[in-house]
Amino acid sequence: MTTRALPAKMILAVTELSLLAFAVRGIKYAVIGAYLPIAVAAILALLYYGLRRFMPHRLRLALRIWGVLLCVYAIIRLALFIVLTVDPSVSAHAADSFGGVAAIVSLLYLAGGVYLFKANRRDNVSTESQPDITDS
């Protein structure tokens, strides 16, 4: 059982880290009077903890979808990095925001998204046979 608990813990850790990143962004923006990021972070957190508490059998599907969304998010950021590297004159703020460090962060989001998607696949027998990840 201990060998099976490890990936479940990993899945939860990756999910919660990604949600934490959105929560930190939300707080940063809430402080300066913009509330969309914190609203999004709050909705994601409510969905995640709600599913874990009340519909654990749906959690794997939800995390799979979250994995796809994280990939899309990362790809948009990476696309901006490429566009702004080719033509940085679009906006100085954007060019500063989507430089090398931001690209590395985007790759982390992408890796997290791919991991969540793959680890929660239905045909992933080893994952399917694990105890409910909410119990780990």
Binding site: R25, Y29, I32, A34, L36, H93, A95, D96, S97, F98
Partner: protein
């Protein structure tokens, strides 16, 4: 209904009385608009104290050290470049005897969805205050942006605007009497949607600062056709009159127009009187080096810049001496 009849002898005094009343009413109406100090005093004393050649040299020296370093053009677009420029401007203000303050700001992006993927917009405005010599609460703001677009040294856009502000500080500091506080501010990120001036205007509003008017100098070093026309954007009738008079003394012609761009708009949006002085953009005489890497010092028309400086200095000196 009985009518009022004047006898022949009573007509003259009655007409005189009516004329007097009309004159008094006219004066009362005019008294609602401020009467700026006249040409004979402030403007002439200001202009007399100016050595035109020395001013051109000072402005040339400033633009040189602000836009070129080690023979390389010095853009002010990235965070690092802008931070270096902000330090230089703080030193320039200190050299003029003013305490430079940094107004750091952090604001949301222009579109809420961008907040989900990009960090907040942040920058630093540099400002300093030259206090009134009287017990006044009124503040006049004179500003110019210091950032540039990518890879452009921005000699015209907008080292020229900053050069004007620095010269006006010298003029106003020399005045014995100032009826207003003067706030000099160098805005960050005008080229990125003007969040710097928006944040500063909001700060003025939040702090309850009584702003008499805001004057913005942007892009004022090109006079390709030599017609010596200066644009005055969004002037109120009072400020237009002030600048027209000042331009007459400086040998310039004012072209007042509405053009919703640059940092003064941030102040207009919050209800402050604000104008922008710039080269004859709408008249088709804008610098061909605008927003290009070729916006270098050798393409700045310094004589025109010095005349525009004289005009702004005269206008500010008139405001300074008018309660």
């Amino acid at each position: 209904m009985p009518s009022i009849q004047f006898s022949r002898t009573a007509r003259k005094p009655a007409i005189c009385a009516l004329v007097t009343i009309a004159a008094l009413l006219t004066n009362a109406t005019h008294a609602t608009t401020p009467v700026y100090a006249t040409d004979a005093d402030t403007a002439q004393s200001v202009n007399a104290s100016i050595d035109h050649t020395a001013r051109i040299k000072r402005q040339r020296d400033f633009i040189l050290r602000f836009t070129i370093k080690d023979n390389e053009p010095m853009p002010r677009s990235t965070r690092r470049e802008r931070a270096a420029a902000a330090d230089t401007l703080a030193s320039e203000l200190a050299a003029l005897g003013l305490d430079a303050e940094r107004h750091g700001y952090r604001v949301p992006n222009s579109h809420p969805l961008l907040d989900l993927i990009a960090p907040p917009v942040q920058g630093v405005n540099i400002h300093a205050t030259l206090p009134a010599t009287t017990d006044s609460q009124s503040h006049i703001i004179l500003g110019a942006h210091y950032d540039t677009v990518r890879d452009s040294p921005g000699a015209n856009d907008n080292a020229t605007g900053i050069a004007i502000v620095l010269e006006v500080i010298k003029t106003l500091s020399a005045l014995e009497s100032r009826q207003h506080h003067f706030v000099f501010v160098f805005f960050d990120q005008e080229e990125d949607g003007a969040p710097g001036s928006k944040a500063f205007a909001q700060k003025m509003l939040r702090d309850g600062v009584a702003v008499h008017s805001m004057h913005n100098a942007d892009l004022i070093g090109w006079d390709g056709n030599g017609d010596q026309v200066v644009e005055l954007e969004l002037p109120t009738s009072e400020l237009e009159a002030l600048y027209r008079d000042s331009a007459d003394h400086s040998g310039l012609t004012i072209n007042p127009l509405v053009f919703n761009s640059s940092d003064h708009i941030s102040f207009r949006e919050l209800g402050f009187d604000a104008v922008c002085i710039s080269e004859d953009w709408a008249g088709g005489d804008a610098s061909p080096h605008y927003h290009k890497p070729t916006d270098r010092i050798e393409f700045v028309h310094f004589d025109y810049l010095a005349m525009a400086t004289e005009m702004v200095a005269t206008a500010m000196a008139r405001l300074a001496t008018t309660p």
